[in-house]
Symmetry: D3
Subunit: 128 residues, 6 copies
């Protein structure tokens, strides 16, 4: 019953987010498998499949937006990991977050940076 | 009395935003020249001067954030122009805005796209 | 090349939003027909097709969210029309918007109400 | 010294939110009993008393708004409970939250769904 | 039928906002006189009546919040006028808005400042 | 290598926020000392140095904005402490937060008040 968008979306999700994306999907199984399905189909089966913007730039755009919105820290964690997985340098992630101080204020930038710090420590990019 | 951050900031502002950035600065003269000064010094004298992320990626991050926040349409107009000025392709701008449907919802993406449409028509990239 | 989600989405869009929805779609033609396509497919081809919540309740949820977010007034206009089209009473729309004063503050509720006023005048539900 | 708005508000608060609403009120006693008083009087003594929109629709509107705003998870928890208390079906709550992916993005919908999951597990509507 | 909260609220509204506040109330007459009533009763009949924070500080808090939220420009206009009416100096208003660059980003501060500019020109505090 | 803005900013940060501000700065050392530097230079070296608005009013503006934005609770904690440090009375902080119910809704005000409660208990202004 899985359609093509779902299949290519799941593959893209795994390419970008590795196990973290899969964990989000699994955690929806008991309450809303349909939201999990849409999360695979639309963002990863439609949007991240598109040519016209490379995956690294897509992840920078996502990190910028999630840092600026300021209330999506679990998703920011997943996408900082995703950015590293598709080849963004840690420095590029840090720069993107610093820049959000200009557009969304220092609290948003600081809170985004603390999410990056967690991810970088977990991946042993920096020491605590 | 102009410091080095101001001077290099003004130069960067002109490189990125051309006359549009200057117009914003001028429009503050009668009410708060200090806010104009800070707008040059911190975003353009500090942040956009930094190595570690190229200007094209910085503009993609800014377009993503301003589209997602959804209440900064004058600034989004300036930065879509800025993105084009520093070499982003129209398609990359369109892709960044489409992607925001995922992270900030369809209204934010639609409203961002209508700002891009205005800019693209003005610059004769598309016809009305 | 139009898939089933697109076809049923377009039909649902017309059922709910009448010409207003179509105008939004058309206005994207020159800049991003793909965003138009996604706007039909995901919200109207997937979500508004779902059983489990009647259309009237879906429109009340949408009006509540757009009023609370406060920066989506074109979409709020479309959906206040949509709510009336699917059978919501004007009073139910007014009540939903008043209630947002509790959750998003008085400015959000007032600005939402002024959008409703425009729609109600246009549809001759109230006089100016 | 309790006025009529307070008395009918407290009764409505207990009808909708049961003990959870009362706990919020009690937790304000040491810092701002007046904010507790206003929380009873205006939302529950004024707004939720109004005819023109049934309680189930009011709770759907509130769940939609709190999910879309994305930074009110304690209140979302209380109102998902409230929605169940006044007769909303779990499915209607799930549908309302899924729909917010359209208007506020997937992160908002996902984070709202995880709050619903907690409530549904606590009330043994679903298993972990 | 007007209660005491309404009467003292209307008086406070006129003290703070002068004719501008009254115009907002009047503009709701055809669509939702009840929202007008609540806007007088709760903000002006309850909150702005309270001792413990002087009116000037209350207006500074309101200008800060409305600038930071960024999507309440009609209300920001009314309250910049209100701040001047209760004795805030133009400089204090400008400082409050500049400071929002720190907490909500430069676009929010710039857009808030342009609202202040309109008010200051209208009141002949500055020239265009 | 520390410039004058940094030096006076650090002094102002310590005057306002005491050890809490310093802890935020230190916690950035391993990931982005530059964001720490900007956080000292721009908000505290530029903005909080300015005449034209006294420090108490600046803290009230900040508490209002952070409560209204609703997703900056660590920064709200620091600035409620800061407000007390520069001479705001607990009552003035409580009033500022209550007032945000009007402009940003009850959930924002309630969540802000719970941050104040934590600070007030820690500083033994109130008992749990």
């Amino acid at each position: 019953m899985q359609n093509e968008r779902y299949r290519s979306g799941l593959k893209k999700l795994e390419e970008i987010d590795g196990k973290a994306g899969k964990r989000v999907i699994d955690s929806l199984a008991s309450i809303s498998p349909d939201l999990a399905k849409y999360t695979i189909e639309f963002p990863f089966g439609d949007i991240y499949q598109r040519p016209g913007l490379d995956l690294k730039s897509r992840e920078i755009a996502t990190i910028a937006a999630l840092t600026a919105l300021g209330n999506c820290q679990p998703q920011l964690n997943v996408h900082i990991n995703g950015a590293l997985n598709v080849g963004c340098k840690p420095e590029e992630i840090v720069e993107t977050i610093i820049q959000m101080a200009v557009y969304a204020g220092f609290p948003a930038a600081l809170n985004g940076m603390f999410v990056a710090k967690e991810v970088f420590i977990e991946r042993e990019i920096i020491k605590e």
